[in-house]
């Protein structure tokens, strides 16, 4: 591109949400993430300078997923594993509505089995898994995709949890990464979906007993994903009843009418 110019940019407001359970309960995990996974991820994002980054956890008011926090969130990152069942249906419904209205959502690793991911996908989100500290190679199959920017042919993780196919998801709208595992499996581990006006990215690496979120390339993918998931356009203003006299083309009503003037089903 040509020599650039300064331009006024909106500042993305990013919230890193974590159930924050294993880092407090398991001494091995605590060694790797003493302040919690969310802090390591948040610090990786803050290092870029231009994002407004905060964190939230399950232990906070409204499970860290209250309306006020969401009012101030453009992109939410979600990490959960042991406490999926504790997240309330109300919180999940709030999240779903926000995503459909345009909020970006980055679901990480074991978040594949979170209520919000299953809610948005409509499928089992189940997978094959094995915890053996084996080697994973995350292949960049889409080098022109913004989420792959700055990533080479692959990211190699010396120790990882195997996630394998079949993965119970709708076919991704955009496929960015597919993983190879030492034990013999493959996995669609970097996947994009559009739902309503929101963008969703699922990224599989991140088992908590390995220092995966300290890896600079993993951090780069997460940063790229946040930028990609920025809300665009606007939410759809529907359901919307259109009165006969408001039709774009002039028409007259004919036949039986089951709805009242406001579009509610009568009696």
């Amino acid at each position: 591109m040509a020599p650039g110019k300064l331009r006024f940019m909106k500042q993305l407001r990013v919230t890193v949400w974590n159930e924050f359970v294993h880092e407090r309960q398991n001494s091995e995990v605590k060694k790797i993430y003493p302040e919690g996974i969310h802090e390591v991820i948040a610090n990786g994002l803050k290092a870029h300078g231009e994002l407004d980054v905060k964190t939230a956890t399950l232990q906070e008011k409204d499970q860290g997923l209250g309306e006020q926090l969401l009012d101030n969130t453009d992109v939410l990152l979600y990490w959960g594993h042991a406490a999926h069942d504790e997240v309330s249906e109300e919180a999940v419904s709030r999240l779903q509505r926000r995503v459909l209205d345009g909020m970006g959502l980055i679901v990480l690793h074991s978040g594949h089995y979170s209520k919000i991911f299953k809610r948005l996908m409509g499928t089992s989100c189940a997978l094959r898994y094995r915890e053996a500290g084996e080697r994973e190679r995350v292949w960049n199959i889409n080098p022109g995709h913004p989420i792959a920017e700055g990533i080479g042919d692959y990211i190699e993780l010396e120790q990882s949890e195997m996630y394998g196919e079949p993965f119970g998801i709708p076919q991704p709208d955009e496929q960015v990464f597919i993983s190879w595992f030492q034990g013999g499996e493959v996995f669609r581990g970097g996947n994009c979906w559009f739902r309503g006006s929101g963008r969703i990215f699922y990224f599989s690496p991140g088992h908590e007993v390995y220092p995966i979120y300290h890896n600079k390339q993993i951090q780069r993918v997460i940063y790229n994903a946040v930028r990609w998931a920025e809300p665009r356009g606007r939410r759809a203003e529907v359901p919307l009843h259109v009165a006969v006299e408001d039709a774009p083309e002039k028409i007259s009503a004919r036949g039986t009418i089951l709805h009242d003037k406001k579009g509610k089903l009568k009696g």
Copy 2:
């Protein structure tokens, strides 16, 4: 193709489910569908001779959606409008699991707002609507698609309810029909999705105050959709924990292990 031959075909077991409310409550609807919408649809399917067709309604045992019935259903057709809220969460979960395991699902008209459709799509499923008895022209945009077999350039419905964009759905995996409305709107009204091992078709025409399911071309689309939605292959046998010694390639476990031998997270 070449002159054919006789071949042994499995017989598809089809269930036409209807909430069966407006046909009993509204005299105009009753005139058009005296035995209920489900009977007209079922008769259209039976006329082809090779299907095993039955009906079920919300008023029956287990809301007409019990395990035994689903055990004997390859493809389910679903019509609902006034009573979406009355369908139990348990019934919806049963339906969802069956679809993911391979059962075909045909969602008709106002079923766009049913619990099961919203559950499988993960989106609002909202739309723009107007009840004015206006003309609809259902364009066949995919003449090579099996669901469009036998259908010309379009199906013209002299009276229809307008359903308009934006329609709050994930982009269809296959787009078959798009409708034009006299009042000036367009609508993606014939859409296919794959979810788990199941096939889903949404078809928008069918407002109950017009004799739309008596239309031979509409009946043909529904028949085609039933054949298309036939279960194939098998369901995915996941979630599946793979023990280290069962990895396809020989590996040894390394590092911290959070799961027990059966793959459950340890206390």
Copy 3:
């Protein structure tokens, strides 16, 4: 499903096309495929009894791709490697038109670089490759897909040529298989696309120095693909000029007109 019934089935006419070069030139390949790859594939298909199977090769009249042969072909299988450049542009154009009009096309292994595949994809169709006789594991990621019918979790090939990502294709409309390689790569090796009224399946295993097409599971995938690729519906009858008086809704022409009555651009 319920106990079946006899039904009259059209008989699919299948042509297995092969450039037939390496089997004649290389003694190792000849040992594995003495009559040519096409004969082994054709025999695998004939064993099912219900298909009308013939073969054709580059050495035949019209390069084995003449109009008469295509008039009698519902699904074409295509294997090429050393002689892609020898296939004429005219033959490629014939094939492309046939596919868009509804003929199924199964492109095998090194056919990823054939003119017809590149023509239909519009992309580079390039990939990463290595010929080391290494192990390949073809994972079934879509067990409900008709092309995966009868296939378990994966097909293991003790010796295979590595094909790796990024694969220069449009994202598949349906993803059925993804391969794992011993040397560390992954590959989207079983992919479906819809183009015009035709169905295309690309299947990557099949390097000619290994007996891959003798493998019963590979044969099963190819048989499934042939059944899946059966022509449905009809071709699109466009381009189509619509005269003003033939518009579905009554309108009158207004303003400057650049086209003549037949829709040709005027002088």
Copy 4:
């Protein structure tokens, strides 16, 4: 979003290419576009201030599509109608390679039948058409999409050429607009595809006898599309032969080898 901040932005280099035939030959078209369609589109883009915009036409050196110009183009807009056949195969191949390597491409109106669009799509790109100066309503079916930013429910064009379904394209990767026509047809007129590392947007309005490119909303869509089509990531560095000793995992070669050390097929 939060109050913004200044940020260093790369400046996109945009080329508006036009065959520039009808504006010189037809007096009615000349009245609407005295300097050519390209100048009106370019001026609309320049008004935003941050783009580096130039124009090129078929009459220029290398048909206005030479290597040097493409070296300095991030996004190319393409308008053609009467002279598709005059564009050389070499120019088309250059354009295709550039798109696959990451250049954005916006194809306008009758460009649906250009060689480059047909090359990239692999399909007929044919459609139904009628020139009657009828009303078109371009519905925004994807309000959260960046190309729909700032656009309301629809754009109404009082006079337009009808383009109708079936449109001979691969199903769009993202669907943004669908048009309604007064004469009774519908059309997928705002469609996105990803090919290689490049982004392609087709936008149907723009018949040259109506002042459509003077419309502010049409100009806004084109500006949004240019921003959306910005190159991201990088091109795929394949085809790539991987030597056995360069495999990510240590393996040894086994069996017959048809390729030489550089990956070329041996004689």
